[in-house]
Symmetry: C2
Subunit: 204 residues, 2 copies
Amino acid sequence: MEEHSPPQHYLRHETRREMIAAAAIAVILEKGAAALRTRDVAARVGINISTLHFHVATKSDMLRLVAETVRTAFEALLPPLPDPDRPAPDQLRAEVQAYHDSLRDRPELAACFAQLTQIAPSEPAIGALIEDFTRNWCARYVEILTLGRAQGSFRANLAPLPTALMITGALTAFGPRGPGGLAQFWPVFTEIERGLQARPKGGM
Amino acid sequence: MEEHSPPQHYLRHETRREMIAAAAIAVILEKGAAALRTRDVAARVGINISTLHFHVATKSDMLRLVAETVRTAFEALLPPLPDPDRPAPDQLRAEVQAYHDSLRDRPELAACFAQLTQIAPSEPAIGALIEDFTRNWCARYVEILTLGRAQGSFRANLAPLPTALMITGALTAFGPRGPGGLAQFWPVFTEIERGLQARPKGGM
DNA sequence: CCATGAATCAATCATATGATTGGTTAGTGG
DNA sequence: CCACTAACCAATCATATGATTGATTCATGG
């Protein structure tokens, strides 16, 4: 089904590794991480299995490569780190916008990420990488929320960490849903925003 | 490692199927769905592979059995359907409490559910079941939220579906996290609650 | 232009894995 | 208590799968 441009033999190590990562991601998307086979990846790249093993020692290595590739690609799409001097609501929106765009333009990333989450039990290195990324991602929201509370744009009784977990959790749910499932993305974010806003005074 | 009570031979079809489902769930929890092997399940139940195939025709069947078992067990833990005559905030809390308790008392359920998502691509029946369950689960929140808005306990500008997606998304994130990761559960819910509350008037 | 090594492949291995076959045993209805 | 069938198992099959071996080809620096 794939048309590998005619025997474009003899590519560089790093080039091949990138192609392998891309192919592995595609296979994971189509069949799920549970059905990932080194042979399928090799076939997709258009190389022999032994060639694949030349570039990527083991399947476990391949999975690490995929995880690192996805993580790096994801991080490259994130906006600049929170800036204490800009309004938090704007930064929150920018942060969410970046995530939205990643779902729209590179749906493989989040979908693959979700799949990788599941193989963590048998691949501790992957689990650690994912956990680390997730923590960092969440930390960005914690910062923005803390900032916004200090700036007075968010509720004074807002707890940054739980709120950040709520937001990242809600957003993560859009990952596995295909690019079509983005219809409710902004409505969901609008609700989140409403829930954060400072109230005109007079609680209860 | 497992001590199967001494050769308690000749159990009923349904009994064995339940044992098989339980064993499969345990294996999925320990090694992940990708590493699920019919042999491991049989060994855990304490039966021969051919006996396993006698009760469960194929691995695919076994997976469906697992999915249905998890779903049924999950649904059994849910509170009664939303009641238009009770205060929505109470019902919301009851709904969330039930989910919390399921995470605390039956962590296998949510964790296994999450694992099943990785075989969904190659097992459409599983995917459909998961999607269906998720939709129903979300619908419960939609009802409660709609009710609460009508009752005046929630913001008048609250959009039920997006908010329900937000809540279920945020809650789902606690599924894969083990029972230890529940520390932030109630803090997160508290934030959600605060975001829903009707404001004292005077928007903007 | 050739020697060297990086990149490639065909063939093969060892084991894992889902499934089947054919026969054995135990509980049960008559 | 016997016959019948549901439940069970040992042995085996066919294929899938991750990985290796040893030879081959291309690119390139000297």
